[in-house]
């Protein structure tokens, strides 16, 4: 496979090791002499710590050491940093309370780390942890974001009166008010975007190791971005220079955002290893994951939409309260602002948009980016309010969307909420989806289902997302404390084989295949001679990792830029060898040729010459063929699409069956369609999970996590889901050389609103206007009972 491999469904190269049990996840790594850490966590949502007595634990059998926050404070260990500064609309900076690695005088959520026990085995560490005596003063807690803003609510931080972290706004409030005054029709909706637990199947894990001979610290961790962890932990927490800190993120068993962030346990094991003079390994049990992995979503929103007499949207007004949890996780603050408010134009020409977001502290696990991060929340409210408008106006939801789409010939398109979309064709993806879902034939299916006693509904949602995160200059101006470029090294070896060192990180995305296809195609060499290396800061250039559907658009482009440098140097070497002018050298099909002649040198010959430079233009060039490029995109990419759900509700039980799910997406150019389809499937499953099954529930009075295991948190299983019907329509991204947009989050963004709209469509005959997520059987049964007490289909 060489040129022409782009667009092919090539089987993944990484699969062999995973299918034979030979993957290397963090928990599969064992370092000589390692000890095991167990973290004692708070059982309370809000409590003062009066005293921690670790003496019995420290003298328990086979215990190596016990540490508390005081030990870390004595070493002047810093707090976990937040990577994004958001300012309130009055210009004041967000409230940024400290985030100690181990709690000091107070715990602020169930699961807050209080102490660490290091022992010869995990069982012994856990046995000893039960002997730690913590004297708590338990105080009232607040878990619900809207409740946190109420007067008299328990306060999470003294520094944040009223639990307010920031009160942010975007858009032209005056223009929006004016549009509402002149509107022919306005519609409103209150909705909740339910809190989710990411639940990558591999629980987090970390191993800290210290080499006294070299002074080098190594952290093996389940991370989506090892360089980011090295920067944050080294610079802000442990005060270690990058040159003495190596972070390795080996095979990682899924992330979905939850493994972007710098977590306490990474700092604990790295800090503890030299203190106990042994490698220290920590692995999360799933129960710990539920109370220590950053959660997602958790918004409460009011939305108003104004329309003119021609049913064109004239203004959108959104007011959201977003839960931050007890501490600010790494990228928490940008999620309900710059990844949310900026997307509220959606696929529509709405000329005026105003959004305000109040971010609040509560006594819950921190909330941060989870698959889609802000964009699912934006899409959900937008696509719900559009359906409400269609319902109240009595027009077809597809027709109302068509009427308001940004036309395909209007790109680049400047929205009223900062973004400039470069390309798209929303009409075509919608028509493709409508046709695939047989939207026109739905009414007959509804009636047939009605005869079987079922309520059947169809719902559609269009979406736009800003991916390929992101231009550093843009995000920097918006408060990001990091750049968001990507880096790649293309290392050509003497015989012409190639190693790609990428700053992107794969944890399921198939980069070892997709990136290799890209390189095979551009360099005209067999895919078998290409190796992709990622995940180890000691090997790869400084890159920002994988999230926000950015790996191909940003990381792949960095590879292309590095390959461009390789080809440019190769042409110089070829010109020298072929005694031709560099301007006459063409590179095609893996050969450097003199234009218009049959004289050529293969890629391998050029590589060999670069490393065995007996005949080499030393005066013009250095030997070697090894190039690095950093790519910082000019703009976000804007994948878009239309999703259609068709469902049936059993009125007796409220149980939902998804009869059909159709997704039509525009991801720009597609390198490996099989991998892209897999990304969409997975996103859809998480989106459908949010809509129907998943909801993180805290006890409102005690702050206890009620959905702390798979016994209570409903994960989508195979028999909850349908097979999906997918199609794509391509418009190319205009500002990256590959024309790619990204596909990882689309499913999770489009699906919730499509399902919710289908549910409301099914229940519309009963007068039901909205159902909250997750639309559990009881919730739907109750809605049916309340609207039509005798609706049971007897």
């Amino acid at each position: 496979m060489a040129e022409g491999s782009i667009g092919q469904p090539i089987r993944r190269r990484e699969d062999y090791r995973f299918l034979t049990g030979q993957g290397t996840y963090t928990d599969d790594i064992n370092r000589p002499g390692q000890a095991y850490a167990y973290i004692l966590r708070s059982p309370h949502a809000n409590a003062g710590i009066n005293r921690i007595d670790t003496s019995a634990a420290a003298s328990a059998p086979r215990v190596v050491a016990v540490f508390t926050g005081k030990d870390m404070a004595a070493d002047e260990i810093g707090g976990l940093p937040c990577g994004w500064l958001v300012n309130s609309k009055d210009g004041s900076p967000m409230k940024e309370p400290p985030h100690p690695v181990l709690a000091l005088d107070r715990v602020r959520h169930v699961g807050d780390p209080v102490a660490v026990v290091i022992a010869e085995s995990l069982g012994q560490a856990r046995d000893a942890a039960e002997k730690i005596d913590v004297d708590y003063t338990i105080e009232p807690a607040v878990v619900d974001p809207a409740a946190a803003l109420q007067p008299g609510a328990p306060q999470v931080w003294e520094q944040a009166p009223g639990n307010l972290c920031y009160d942010w706004a975007l858009g032209d409030a005056g223009a929006v008010d004016a549009a509402f005054k002149g509107a022919a029709k306005t519609v409103s909706l209150d909705l909740v975007n339910n809190r989710l637990v990411p639940n990558a199947m591999e629980p987090r894990a970390a191993i800290g190791e210290y080499d006294r001979a070299t002074g080098e610290h190594t952290l093996y961790t389940t991370s989506q971005n090892p360089h980011v962890i090295r920067l944050l932990m080294g610079a802000f927490v442990l005060h270690l220079p990058e040159s003495k800190l190596r972070v390795v993120a080996p095979d990682v068993g899924g992330g979905f955002g939850s493994k972007i962030f710098h977590y306490a346990e990474e700092a604990i094991v790295t800090w503890a290893a030299p203190k106990v003079r042994r490698p220290v390994k920590w692995i999360a049990e799933r129960s710990e994951s539920f109370m220590s992995d950053a959660h997602g979503r958790d918004h409460v929103t009011h939305v108003d939409l104004a329309l003119d007499a021609q049913n064109k949207f004239t203004a959108l007004r959104v007011s959201t309260v977003a839960n931050m949890g007890a501490y600010l996780s790494t990228f928490a603050t940008c999620v309900p602002t710059y990844l949310y408010g900026t997307l509220l134009a959606g696929t529509y020409t709405t000329p005026a948009v105003y959004v305000e977001t109040k971010a609040v502290f509560t006594h819950t696990v921190p909330v941060d980016a989870y698959r889609g991060a802000g964009r699912p929340e934006a899409t959900f409210l937008l696509e719900r309010i559009v359906d409400v408008a269609a319902d109240e106006l009595g027009i077809d939801p597809a027709e109302l969307r068509r009427k308001n789409f940004i036309p395909a010939n209007a790109f680049p398109y400047q929205t009223p909420v900062a973004l400039q979309y470069d390309s798209g064709d929303y009409q075509s993806t919608l028509e493709l989806a409508l046709k695939a879902a047989d939207y026109a034939g739905f009414e007959a299916r509804r009636q047939e289902a009605g005869r079987r006693g079922k309520y059947r509904g169809i719902g559609l949602a269009t979406y736009i997302e800003a991916c390929g995160i992101a231009p550093s200059a843009v995000v920097g101006s918006l408060g990001a404390r990091a750049g968001l470029f990507e880096a790649a090294t293309v290392r050509v070896h003497p015989t012409g084989s190639v190693t790609i060192l990428t700053g992107s990180h794969q944890h399921g995305q198939g980069h070892e295949t997709t990136f290799a296809q890209l390189v095979a195609d551009q360099l005209g060499i067999p895919i078998e001679s290409i190796e992709i290396v990622h995940g180890d800061t000691a090997k790869i250039p400084y890159g920002m990792g994988t999230y926000g559907s950015r790996s191909l658009a940003v990381g792949g482009t960095a590879i292309v830029k590095a390959m461009d440098k390789i080809i440019a140097k190769g042409r110089k070497i070829a010109a020298h060898l072929l005694e031709a002018s560099e301007a006459d050298i063409e590179f095609k099909d893996g050969k450097f040729s003199v234009a218009g002649t049959d004289r050529s040198k293969s890629f391998g010959e050029i590589a060999l010459t670069a490393y065995v430079p007996h005949n080499f233009p030393h005066e013009e060039l250095e030997p070697g063929l090894d190039e690095t490029a950093f790519y910082d995109p000019k703009n976000f990419t804007y994948p878009s699409g239309a999703h259609i759900a068709e469902i049936e509700i059993d009125p007796d039980t409220g149980r939902v069956e998804i009869v059909n799910f159709t997704a039509s997406d525009d991801f720009g150019r597609i390198i490996n369609p099989m991998i892209v389809a897999g990304q969409v499937h997975g996103g859809l499953a998480q989106g459908i999970g949010q809509a129907l099954l998943e909801g993180c529930v805290y006890d409102k009075s005690t702050g206890q996590l009620l959905t702390g295991s798979y016994n209570d948190y409903a994960m989508p299983r195979a028999d909850d889901l349908p097979s999906f019907s997918l199609s794509t329509h391509v418009t190319l991204c205009t500002h990256n050389p590959l024309g790619v947009k990204g596909c990882g989050e689309a499913g999770a963004i489009g699906a919730p609103a499509a399902i919710a709209n289908a549910l409301v469509d099914a229940l519309r005959p009963l007068g039901i206007k909205h159902v909250e997520m997750p639309a559990t059987p009881e919730r739907l049964w109750r809605a049916i009972q309340q609207h039509q007490p005798r609706a049971a289909a007897d």
Binding site: P9, E202, G254, N711, L721, F724
Partner: protein, 169 residues
Amino acid sequence: MQKTVSLTVNGKPASATVEGRTLLVQLLREHLGLTGTHVGCDTSQCGACVVHVDGEAVKSCTLLAVQAEGKNVLTIEGVANGDELHPMQEAFRNNHALQCGFCTPGMVMSALDLVKNNPKPTDREIREYLEGNLCRCTGYHNIVLAIAEGAAVMRGEAPPANPHGVAAE
């Protein structure tokens, strides 16, 4: 209290000295170095740890190592024939039925158990049989396709046309 457990793993005799509370999955991963079997939860639900004991799928996180005394255990490491993948493993590759790979060993072991009990499962039966195996990456769509293909090949039939356009090797 330490006990020595002797059993057969992937066709070879194995033994280890473990605590009474040691789980079979810990014996496999920590004592025998067979790290292909994974632990994804602590409530016996996710199925990442499924292995075969005496030919039947069980959750190795819900069996004490001492309970496996004298048993014949098959883990994901013992499924392929040397370098040649088992048809079910091959079907997972052909259908992109794995992404992060963490649930995959348990999925393959459950799939083999299904086919043993039901050589020609329908898609619905496949989905129902996977009740004890969670995957967060694939949405199960491609896993269902893969198990149908793997079952067909195990029955000695030609695999169904690849729905992704993957060329036969």
